[in-house]
């Protein structure tokens, strides 16, 4: 999967546009999560506009790659990505968390095209992704399964049950991307429930481990390609991200895990994000 400089720039700009839309949508919703979705914008841009083999006009296409969002609470960035990709009109984004909306507070399969599984309660996405990956083998399908997950949900026992199973079954059509942003609701992950060394843990469970800067498009794409080329084990990509990335007063602050910006804060955030776009353009000039 060749990645040209112009494509990298396009994906970076897309990520930034999506951050802006995300702020606007969260203000309108009046509740929801800010930090995680901002931090994952680059990864979502890379997936929906480069990595995934999918067809927004035919969301049930049998051979599509499957993206399973395990940490369902960051769904606003997935919704923004789906709308940008053409699964539904962008206007609908503003119904997020409102009555009668297809954009539920946490994603629900069947409500909205492009949602592969229902999630929200943490730690179960990898299990479901394994089921989808095993079904691909049984059905002799070549699609790949990607499971995006949070670091905090590694507190759940169910997660490690699934980690053991994927290694036992040598599930090689599955790649996990962990958003290692070091925050969860009650504080920093290492204070709430230490995860380090996360790399050593996965290696001890017989996974291939890759670590990347989760804001570098090229690194994301390279890691996914490396995972694809690995046949003997499942791969986890530990993506180091900055929660709230792009909005200085949210960056790294766990207080922004589970709340939306107020209108004046969103204004401030949008101002910053718009200047960031200029910076990205500048870097590529």
């Amino acid at each position: 999967m060749h990645l040209s400089q112009s494509k990298i720039k396009e994906l970076e700009l897309r990520a930034n546009d999506m951050r802006e839309e995300l702020m606007e949508v969260l203000v309108e919703a009046g509740s929801g999560h800010s930090a995680g979705p901002l931090g994952m914008a680059d990864i979502f841009s890379a997936f929906y506009f480069h990595i995934l083999s999918h067809d927004p006009k035919n969301p049930e296409w049998e051979d599509r790659d499957r993206l399973v969002l395990s940490n369902g609470h960051i769904c606003p960035i997935q919704y923004v990505s789906l709308a940008n990709a053409g699964y539904f009109d962008k206007e609908e984004l503003f119904t997020l968390r409102k009555i009668d909306s297809r954009l539920q507070g946490h994603p629900h399969r069947g409500s909205l095209p492009g949602i592969e599984t229902t999630s929200g309660p943490l730690g179960s996405g990898l299990s479901q992704a394994i089921g989808i990956a095993v079904a691909a083998k049984l059905n002799q399908k070549r699609y790949r399964v990607y499971c995006l997950a949070s670091d905090g949900e590694h507190n759940e026992g169910n997660w490690w049950e699934a980690v053991m199973l994927a290694a036992k079954m040598r599930i090689n059509n599955l790649t996990v991307v962990v958003d290692r942003n070091n925050i969860q609701i009650d504080g920093y992950t290492e204070d709430v429930m230490p995860l380090e060394s996360l790399r050593d843990k996965y290696e001890a469970f017989n996974w291939q481990v890759l670590e990347i800067d989760g804001h570098k498009i090229e690194a994301i794409v390279d890691a996914v390609n490396e995972a694809k080329a690995t046949l003997e084990a499942p791969t986890v990509v530990i993506a180091h991200t900055i929660p709230g990335k792009g909005v200085s007063f949210m960056e790294g602050q766990y207080g922004w895990h589970g709340k939306p910006p107020k209108p004046e804060e969103a204004e401030e955030a949008l101002k910053e994000l718009r200047s960031l776009e200029g910076k990205i353009r500048g870097e590529h000039a």
Binding site: T118, I132, E161
Partner: protein
Amino acid sequence: MLNKKVYLDNNLFSDKAKQAALRDGYGEGLFEAGKKDPNVVALCADLKDSTRSNFFAKAFPNRFFEIGIAEQNMVAVAAGLAVSGKIPFVASYATFSPGRAWEQIRTTVAYNDANVKIAGHHAGISVGPDGATHQAIEDIATMRAIPNMTVIAPCDANEAKKATLAAAKFVGPMYLRFARENTPIMTTARTPFKPGKAEIFYSSSRPQVAIIACGPLVHKALVAAKELEKEKIKTIVVNSHTIKPLDSKTILEVVEKTGAVVSVEEHQVIGGLGSAVAELLAKEKPTPMEFVGMQDVFGESGEPEELLDKYKMSVEDIKEAVRKVKKRK
């Protein structure tokens, strides 16, 4: 007398009544379902032999998945298989699945509308010597409370097999409840079985009380009905194998005829079959009712029959409940 239209086993009241375990019916049904439909897959949590998943595992090793002692993972993996077109059956002891995996069942199976069949084994107090930790007596309640979930408790091994085969054809989440011990065979190959359709197993002319039962205790209900004839107490016995959706038509018909109800189940009286019947009657036809089942307590170790006696689910207890409710009419 026994309802001839449902072709019950003629020996069911005799000492020679055949016995078999419901879990054997599951094992045979799963194997046959697997033969009929290549999309049927089975998962187990380190209880392959005990849940009788072993016949399927041996015949279709590529479609059987040993998940280890990890029921939450087993259920959610099954959900992933189901959203990809497979028909997964997950089996464990009911105290563990659905017990421990309740939230995964709620979110990844029921709300996700995944076509997963949950087989809860060793249900009821009759598991015996293993004691209260292994006696699932709340599983009907916890499954019944989840939207989009069908709940079935077969009465004998033959019906367990039919229910398993029906589950493979049925599209949608379903909970199936099985017991460990050998229990009397009541039904035959010709006895009708359809999810959602209760069957009248026994009826007398001018019945005074309807006994609505599920699971192996249906046999004790039939024995009680027969013995009560000697006291000139006339009853109808309904095998309400599907607890959700309840066959309200059949139940309202028998209640119309009798005006009094006794529910019988090897389950807590809170939230089970009796509760489901009471919810229906409170809305449609308020009727005096007695509840035979676990009275909001845990069980203990012991032999199955000793436990059913001690915790008041014996033939005598059913008879006493019938006499009591008859007086309340």
